[in-house]
């Protein structure tokens, strides 16, 4: 084949060290079946510390709230409960889970669409509530009064920010109170002062754009000023999530791959995908139209670095141009962040066994590889993340693969085991350093955020992947079922 186009995953410390134990991983999958999810609680704790460190560097009293929606793992949540981080719970179930994993209500913020029961449990226990609309504010106040609940710490989630002089054609959001309607909502909030303690304002924007977020941050500072005009004194800016993960080890590979995707869409090279799928790109008389509908798998600044850039971004000239962090600090405001994806960077792997390897019926050079897993189990593609799996040969297995020929790099299509044409683990042709054999493992890196749990199903009575937690203890790896994990050693010391 021509020069292989790899998209090799970034594997830091713990994940890399676990991958260096193929014997252990194979025996785990043999015992617990393919697919198998492995989460790394210690990594989540380290990530929370790294986020906190960014706030400290900016002298801010910041708080990191894990956006629970990114993972259903109990082990990750319980480990985070043993750090200074809080939780952003977006459903009744997430709130109950967070409470049960050891988060005191002071460390929980309830966000997202809310049922009465969700609001009641949040208010009853004393969690903060980020209110999404004027109606929800009314609903919360009625509930608090009707049930004689304790005064509820409340944030107003805002949306529809604009920069001076610029109309932003933002994606329409279903969430948040438009800043244009803020005055009315603040008047209501002031009227509910007996039951509501307005502690802050928040936003969450579904964008990778730093400028859009900086505009929202500034809008929140202005909104906190407006609160004072209504006799309210909130002092928290919650800047939501969306700090991102950089999934790939090498920027050059991402650059080369996406260039080739564009070339393939223009017909300048053979297709790189199943059925010539364009990932959003199309050829319009020799001009490339559309845009890559893909997550930027390589990112120059993600996670804590992205937070750092946002806090360092200069404010507009209307606010004097100082960095946003300085402005917040000068106003004595605290900053909360709700990283979901970014907090789980390097926190999990999904393992799947190779079930079958064969040549396509048309005799093409690409191999067809079927895994003992469904696309749902490894939802990287569902989230637009392109990432090569790591091939872990079955230890001790000898003999040549079905058709591997020279034993060098091969291009493979990865199929799931559903009896369904569309069950493709990925639509793209994946280049591997050598041909996989039945019984080998493919390890998908960095799947803890959204990819393990968001789409998992039991279609066709295939089991959903089991989940285990793994950590290093005294120089070797130890594991237990996810739900059996508590952040304690067997002797009761902190792990």
């Amino acid at each position: 084949m021509a020069e292989p186009l790899y998209l090799r995953p970034r594997l830091d410390g713990r994940a890399a060290s676990l991958l260096a134990e193929p014997g252990l991983l194979h025996s785990l999958v043999d015992a617990l079946e393919s697919p198998l999810n492995v989460v790394l609680p210690e990594q989540a704790a380290a990530n929370a510390d790294a986020f906190q460190e960014v706030f400290t560097r900016h002298r801010l009293k910041g708080r990191v709230l894990f956006a629970h929606k990114a993972s259903a793992s109990s082990a990750l949540l319980r480990r985070l409960a043993a750090t200074a981080a809080g939780v952003d719970a977006a459903s009744l179930g997430e709130l109950r889970h967070a409470l049960g994993c050891g988060f005191a209500p002071e460390r929980i913020t309830a966000t997202g669409p809310k049922s009465l029961r969700f609001l009641w449990l949040a208010a009853r226990t004393g969690a903060a509530v980020a209110v999404d609309s004027a109606d929800e504010l009314d609903m919360l106040a009625r509930l608090l009064r009707a049930h004689g609940l304790p005064r509820c710490r409340t944030l107003l989630r805002l949306s529809g920010f604009s920069a001076p002089g610029v109309r932003v054609r933002s994606r329409l959001s279903r969430f948040g109170i438009p800043v244009a309607a803020l005055d009315d909502v603040l008047a209501r909030a002031a009227g509910y002062r007996d039951v509501l303690d307005l502690v802050g304002v928040s936003y969450h924007l579904d964008t990778t754009s730093l400028t859009e977020k900086a505009t929202a941050f500034e809008g929140c500072l202005q909104a906190l000023g407006a609160c004072r005009d209504h006799g309210l004194a909130p002092d928290v800016v919650d800047i939501g999530g969306g700090f991102g993960i950089s999934y790939l080890a090498h920027r050059e590979e991402w650059d080369a791959y996406t260039s080739e995707l564009a070339a393939a869409a223009l017909g300048a090279r053979p297709a790189l995908t199943w059925g010539g799928h364009g990932y959003g790109l199309r050829n319009d008389k020799g001009t490339l139209r559309g845009s890559l509908a893909l997550y930027p798998s390589w990112r120059p600044a993600a996670g804590g670095h992205y937070l750092d850039e946002l806090l360092s971004a200069p404010s507009s000239s209307a606010l004097g141009g100082r960095p946003l962090a300085s402005l917040a600090l000068e106003h004595l405001y605290d900053v909360h962040a709700e990283p979901g994806r970014a907090l789980l960077d390097q926190c999990g792997l999904t393992l799947a066994t190779v079930q079958e390897v064969r040549r396509p019926p048309d005799g093409g050079a690409d191999l067809w590889v079927r895994l003992a897993a469904k696309a749902d189990d490894i939802a990287l593609e569902e989230h637009g993340v392109l990432l090569d799996p790591v091939l872990l040969p079955r230890p001790g297995s000898t003999g040549t693969s079905t058709d591997s020929g020279s034993g060098g790099p091969v291009a493979v299509h990865l199929f799931g085991h559903l009896c369904l044409e569309t069950d493709l683990i990925t639509r793209r042709l994946v280049h591997l350093p050598r041909a996989p054999r039945p019984g080998d493992l493919l390890v998908f890196a960095n799947t803890a955020a959204y990819c393990m749990d968001f789409h998992s199903s039991r279609s066709q009575r295939h089991p959903a992947a089991r989940k285990i937690a793994a950590w290093r203890s005294g120089g070797s790896w130890t594991w237990c079922l996810d739900d059996a994990y508590w952040p304690l050693s067997t002797e009761g010391d902190p792990q």
């Binding site: 610029v166 054609r169 490339l288 893909l294």
Partner: protein, 449 residues
């Protein structure tokens, strides 16, 4: 030269020789086509005027708004042209990455609309890219629109086929140059000029320059992005090469400091790309000369698109050293050592409260005015740290007889200024330890008065 309208002054820009002592080529004469001397400041004046001109009578009749996807020079030219004809102009952009440009466009009367950034929580089935949305919005608009469509409009490259190209030939005594080098943004200038030059001699070597992938040079496209441009035809270029932003700025600095050409980053990119390409050709010509009859001298032309003034923040971000203030005056924070700051007189919140009661110091709040207005210590004055820094360069702005209490958010800036005031001879300037955050945390009063 006398004109009836400023648009008549578009074009006929100078072709200026680059001093061989600067470029070092021995067998090639290198010329810069100074498109930055167009009246609205850039090469885009020609395209903007040529694209808008055709539609103006109709647009004036039905009060259309001119619309273009641009975050820079085309928007500037169109904003001015719209204003001259009593029309409004809207620039739609997803990358207003140069703050000065934004402010200048607002000054010129443009409306700016920004497209959203890429979704973080992606829905891969959603292929409604921002451009598709933009075109839908054009179709749904209630006000009549004149969309100049610079990436697809043949009147863009025609402006250069009819103007820029023939001017170069005329200024070279009727001969087209051997080499033509230009950056590719809309591909309008390179396509138009290349066409005009090749009409004179088909063997002109054309070099197109694009930015390296994941890099950003204002006004030009990256290697992948050029394929999204309707006017772009790979066959126009004998070579398509990349330049990175560092090289563009280096080239720009040479043009500015050595040649007196106040070029912007794309001019610098073209100069860098030209030299890189021509050095090889020059070396080959030298070899030829060694073993054969003397080679003929060659000629090369590159385009300087616009001026440097609008890119100061771009340069500050990438090369702060070029804007560095190296002249140190004695009364600045830069002259203080860590030990000076550590030894600065300071008071804790408790001490400060007693001290304020007894000695009535002048309380100086160093935070921004916006923050000061929201909440501050009673009786304090607000002199932001930058302004205090400016004042101190000239000398002490406070009487020595009155004690001074300096306050900032966490006590870092105030310690530095207390050290500086002390060094400048103030007998009793103190920093509030832990700053206004500690003051608040101790439950001490803050007012809005």
């Amino acid at each position: 030269m006398r004109y009836d309208r400023i648009t008549d002054a578009i074009g006929n820009t100078p072709l200026v020789r680059i001093d061989p002592a600067v470029h070092g080529l021995r067998h090639i004469d290198l010329f810069a086509k100074l498109e930055m001397l167009n009246p609205f400041g850039s090469v885009k004046d020609r395209a903007a005027w040529n694209m808008a001109r055709a539609g103006l009578p109709g647009a004036e009749a039905d009060g259309s708004q001119i619309v273009e996807l641009s975050s820079g020079n085309t928007a500037k030219a169109l904003a001015v042209i719209a204003g001259m004809h009593g029309l409004t102009f809207k620039s739609v952009t997803n990358r207003m990455r140069i703050p000065e440009t934004k402010e200048l466009l607002l000054l010129l009367g443009a409306e700016i609309e920004e497209l959203p950034g890429q979704s973080e929580c992606l829905d891969p089935t959603d292929t409604e890219d921002p451009l598709t949305l933009f075109h839908q919005a054009l179709a749904d608009s209630e006000t009549p629109l004149l969309h100049t469509d610079q990436y697809f409009n043949p009147r863009n490259s025609a402006a250069h086929f009819e103007g820029t190209g023939p001017e170069i030939v005329a200024d070279l005594d009727g001969r087209a140059p051997d080499y033509f080098i230009a950056c590719v943004g809309t591909a309008g200038s390179s396509t138009g000029v290349a066409g005009a030059l090749r009409a004179h001699r088909p063997d002109v070597e054309v070099v197109g320059l694009v930015a390296a992938k994941s890099d950003f040079i204002p006004g030009i496209r990256t290697r992948d992005e050029v394929h999204e441009v309707g006017l772009f035809d790979p066959d126009t270029y004998d070579t398509l090469a990349t330049v990175d932003s560092g090289q563009a700025i280096e080239g720009m600095v040479t043009l500015i400091r050595r040649c007196g050409l106040l070029a912007g980053p794309t001019g610098g990119a073209a100069y860098h790309g030209a030299l890189r390409h021509l050095r090889e050709a020059d070396a080959r010509l030298a070899e030829q000369r060694d073993d054969g009859p003397p080679a003929e001298r060659r000629t090369a032309v590159f385009i300087v698109c616009d001026r440097v003034e609008g890119y100061l923040s771009y340069i500050r971000q990438r090369r702060p050293d070029l804007l560095g203030d190296t002249a140190r005056t004695p009364n600045t924070l830069a002259g203080l050592s860590d030990a000076d700051v550590a030894a600065a007189p300071a008071v804790t919140v408790d001490e400060a409260r007693t001290w304020i009661e007894g000695a009535d110091p002048l309380i100086v709040d160093l935070r921004s005015t916006y923050a000061y207005n929201a909440l501050h210590l009673a009786g304090s004055v607000n002199i932001t740290d930058e302004i205090l820094g400016e004042l101190l360069r000239a000398g002490l702005p406070f009487a020595r007889s009155r004690p001074v209490l300096l306050a900032c958010p966490v006590g870092e800036q105030s310690a530095r200024y207390a050290a500086l005031l002390t060094r400048m001879g103030h007998p009793d300037a103190r920093s509030l330890t832990g700053g206004i955050v500690a003051w608040r945390d101790a439950g001490a009063p803050l007012t809005r008065d």
